[in-house]
């Protein structure tokens, strides 16, 4: 594969404001489900940062493998899309996706998920979540291209499942020097 689009999430910049999460709901008008979610990365009660996570448009997508109705497909740029026409609501994809990216629409009982805002991509625009991040913590990257050396696949204290080869890279947060109260 020549191209695989994915997300670069900079935990050093992300302030966990959830703008990306709600901007996505705004764009797709989702009232009871969310494509993007912010996970707290904790260690012994200390928040180390936030991980903004949606569909990772994996290199080996489990959703495509398990869906008997062949609802999922992968574009040449690596974006994993979903077509609801044939969906019978079996929810196998939800069980299979390590990131629970596919969601059930409680009304239609069918699946929907992050589509990488592909119509925007096709017009050369950023996906909504990326465009809405005030501090610039989200970026679109082609993980087949060399990515910044400081970006990595894993986070300490928080495992990102790797067997599907998710197209997500992270930049670790930098903790401030802290002086805690005496007494």
């Amino acid at each position: 594969m020549q191209k695989q689009l994915g997300f670069l999430v900079d935990l050093g910049k992300c302030v966990g404001c959830r703008g990306c999460e709600v901007a996505c709901s705004n764009k797709h008008q989702l009232d009871h489900l969310q494509y993007r979610r912010i996970m707290n990365i904790n260690k012994e009660n200390q928040v180390l940062g936030f991980l903004s996570l949606a569909c990772n448009h994996c290199i080996n997508p489990e959703c495509i493998r398990v869906c008997k109705e062949k609802c999922f497909y992968k574009r040449r740029d690596g974006v994993v899309l979903y077509n609801s026409q044939r969906c019978n609501g079996c929810q196998r994809c939800i069980g299979a996706c390590p990131f629970q990216a596919p969601k059930v629409n409680p009304r239609t009982k069918k699946i929907s998920k992050c589509d990488f805002c592909f119509e925007q991509l096709d017009q050369g625009l950023e996906p909504t979540c990326v465009a809405s991040c005030i501090v610039g913590a989200l970026q679109v990257i082609d993980i087949m291209q060399p990515i910044p050396v400081y970006a990595q696949e894993a986070l300490p204290n928080f495992s990102i499942t790797q067997f599907t080869k998710p197209s997500i890279r992270v930049i670790l947060p930098r903790a401030p020097q802290c002086f805690w109260r005496k007494g």
Binding site: N26, Q29, T108, Q177
Partner: protein, 731 residues
């Protein structure tokens, strides 16, 4: 499929209804629109329009918004890229507007409640509502000889300039009682008024020019998230960012240095730093000589009363850290301090702000790009206030309006005599969740003949009202907005028709006036008709035109504009104090009962009975009682917590998510624990907000203790919200 390409909006609506039936989900047309199943038929024959809006919700950022309206439905909101402050983005709250406008929870028509608090609501017509309200107003005037028994409590739910028409409406019926003051920031305003003459801050976009930035008791990552871009940008350009806070906030976690301070001792830290700066000759004598009054007195106060050992002892910050901070702040130029509103919500809050201002002054950082002591500004608020400026009808009784303290609202309503208060009009405000001493506020409501609340949602304040009037959101009505932080001016266009039977507050004023005059000719001077768009135009003054470099307000339809001058506070060195100088020694302060110098005033202490200080800061998904009630927000978070330090938790055998009762002598709340080292060991934090259908209100435990300052500039002192001492207990 030919048929579909020519569907009119009408048949599209019908088609939508049909689809509702086939996929079998209940709810309204709007539920359908928001199910994410945008019907393809709509796209073919639809009109898409763009409108300019502004977020009016008492937020630093007051964002310029670009709204997409398709076939009369608000489909999408984004930040307006024309504003270099908003930069094309909104926050999570702003992005939820497409939901809040169409929320099934909106109040749809006027209603009357049979039995306050009973939940027994009946739909009534607008005419019935106006009649009942007008009759009561006229009856009270007859019984008491004036309209003073009618009390208005309106504040920050919508800071659009036209919304001051609510005050205008009350003026137009005669002398009335007004909840006066401002709850959130008055101590700091007075402090800066004593020091500088008024509040003015640098353009926040100027933060990028700072080489040293202390964010002192503010949490922009939650409360002014657009500023975080400039903070990060400054950091990228080599600025060191320091956060001083009793809580390791989200902002602190992004800083270079976080210093945990004992809550309410900020003045001790500032004075300790000042002493170090003095001892090491790091002050700017030249600036002081030219621009200040009282430097000598201040320095001798420092020499005689302040030591670094004392400051370390007071604040809990090791002495060498105070020394490092003082040295770095005084020697890195330009150095900026952002003074938050949280740190002045104390009985010594105003004094603490004065001490911090003094740091900026003695180091000569005032009036400089990249420098300053930023608090807020009201320089861009010079409108005509046409909707607000109404005349009083002749012979309506009483000599003048009566002011009662908004910050002790319940008690002051109950105590009002000659005449007593008998009717409340509540707009843009939620005293039943946001005011201290909820029980007292409730009692005040109970003593009324009539409570009228204009609101969007069924808040606890509406639940305690007799009549509720449905109001419009910013998207359904025209207006104009400025910020108390940045220097942009945004028009708010009407993007969609008012939903259901909702009306703008000014329209309500006009129609109520018509009713009052119908019942008693001449009883109300408020115009009974008018075009809201034109009324927006009437708010603009020559001063605003000049400041923003426009000839006509209609130019704002092309986009927001930024002030052309005054972007660096006090650059001209003309302070608005009595002496025209920066006043370290303020006779004005003395007049208001304070020490003339910025001195340390002892902070409030915990007691054996109530050993923990409860801090109630702003929550990232709300602005006071707004936003968190929406289902979109509930999907992100729907549970308040009490944040407890692990050491404290261990002492009380409390584990994560255990149910904890927090109480003091006025009330209690029960909520799940969140054990976190981010709070100080002598502090618990509970974020103030309103959750729909939750028995949560942190103000059950908050007393109406006044802050030290606020009387001069805002008419009443602030509230020492963070001087609330409590005990906790595992349930």
């Amino acid at each position: 499929m030919k048929q579909k390409s020519v569907v009119s909006r009408r048949t599209f609506l019908k088609g939508a209804a049909a689809t509702v039936a086939t996929v079998s989900f209940g709810g309204t047309f709007f539920d359908f629109i928001f199910s994410g199943l945008s019907p393809a038929v709509a796209a073919e024959n639809s009109t898409v329009e763009l409108f300019r809006n502004a977020c009016p919700r008492n937020c630093y950022d007051t964002c310029a918004i670009l709204s997409t309206v398709q076939d009369g439905v608000l489909k999408k909101v984004v930040g307006d890229p024309a504003s270099t402050y908003t930069r094309g983005t909104l926050c999570a709250k702003g992005f939820s507007y497409t939901r809040s406008v169409y929320s099934p929870d909106r109040i749809k028509y006027p209603m009357r409640q049979i039995g306050r608090g009973s939940g027994n609501w009946q739909r009534i017509s607008w005419d019935e509502a106006y009649t009942e309200i007008a009759q009561n107003m006229l009856r009270l005037k007859r019984e008491y000889g004036s309209t003073l028994p009618i009390c208005l409590n309106k504040y920050s739910g919508n800071f659009d300039i036209m919304h001051y028409g609510i005050e205008g409406m009350l003026t137009s019926i005669g002398n009335t009682t007004r909840a006066t003051g401002t709850p959130c920031w008055p101590a700091g305003i007075d402090a800066q008024t004593f020091d500088f003459g008024t509040i003015v801050c640098n353009d926040p976009e100027d933060i990028v020019n700072s080489k040293y930035l202390i964010i002192w008791g503010a949490n922009p990552a939650w409360c002014s998230v657009h500023s975080m871009y400039f903070v990060k940008e400054a950091q990228q350009r080599g600025c060191k960012v320091v956060v001083i806070d009793p809580i390791l906030t989200q902002t602190a976690s992004k800083a270079d240095l976080y210093i945990q301070i004992k809550s309410s001792t900020d003045g001790a830290l500032a004075l300790g730093m000042a002493r170090y700066i003095l001892d090491h000759n790091l002050y700017d004598g030249e600036w002081l000589a030219k621009n200040s009054k009282g430097a000598e007195e201040f320095f001798s106060y420092l020499k005689n009363n302040i030591t670094l050992e004392w400051a370390a002892e007071k604040t809990g910050i090791p002495q060498h850290i105070i020394e490092m901070l003082a040295r770095e702040y005084a020697t890195t130029k330009p150095a900026n301090i952002w003074i938050g509103y949280g740190m002045q919500r104390h009985t010594n809050g105003g004094q603490n702000v004065r001490a911090i201002d003094a740091l900026a002054a003695i180091t000569g950082n005032i009036g400089k790009s990249g420098g300053g002591a930023q608090y807020a500004q009201l320089e861009t608020w010079g409108f005509k206030y046409h909707a607000m400026s109404q005349s009083k009808p002749a012979n309506s009784g009483g000599k003048e309006d009566r002011a009662i303290n908004i910050n002790n609202f319940g008690a002051e309503v109950l105590n009002a005599q000659d005449p007593p208060i008998k009717m409340l009009w509540i707009a843009c405000r939620g005293p039943m969740t946001q005011d201290p001493e909820t029980a007292v506020v409730k009692k005040a409501f109970e003593g009324m003949d009539l409570v009228v609340t204009a609101d969007l949602y069924m808040t606890p304040t509406v639940e305690m009202s007799d009549i509720v009037l449905p109001v419009t959101t910013a998207f359904e009505t025209p207006g104009v907005n400025v910020s108390y932080w940045h220097y942009w001016l945004s028009l708010n266009e009407q993007a969609i028709k008012p939903m259901y039977e909702s009306k703008n507050d000014v329209t309500i004023a006009m129609e109520l006036s018509a009713k009052l005059n119908e019942l008693e000719q001449g009883s109300c001077t408020f115009p009974t008709s008018g075009d809201l768009q034109e009324w927006v135009g009437k708010e603009f003054s020559e001063g605003i035109y000049k400041q923003f470099g426009i000839q006509d307000w209609q130019e704002l339809k092309k986009g927001p504009v930024k002030a052309k001058s005054g972007l660096i506070a006090w650059q001209d060195g003309k302070f608005r104090t009595p002496s025209g100088k920066y006043e370290l020694w303020s006779a004005e302060a003395e007049k208001y009962g304070h020490f003339p110098l910025p001195v340390y005033v002892e902070e409030m202490q915990s007691t054996d009975k109530y050993p923990l200080r409860c801090i109630t800061p702003h929550w990232k998904l709300s602005i006071h009682s707004q936003f968190q009630n929406l289902d979109w927000m509930a999907a992100v978070n729907n549970e308040p917590h009490i944040e407890i330090h692990p050491k404290v938790a261990a002492k009380y055998h409390i584990k994560d998510n255990d149910s904890v009762k927090m109480f003091n002598d006025i009330g209690y709340i029960t909520l799940p624990a969140k054990i976190t080292e981010t709070v100080s060991p002598d502090v618990v934090a509970v974020y103030e907000t309103w959750y729909k259908n939750k028995k949560f209100n942190v103000n059950y435990t908050v007393k109406a203790i006044p802050a030290d300052m606020g009387k001069k500039a805002t008419g009443a002192p602030g509230i020492a919200f963070h001087d609330n001492f409590v005990a906790i207990q595992k349930m």
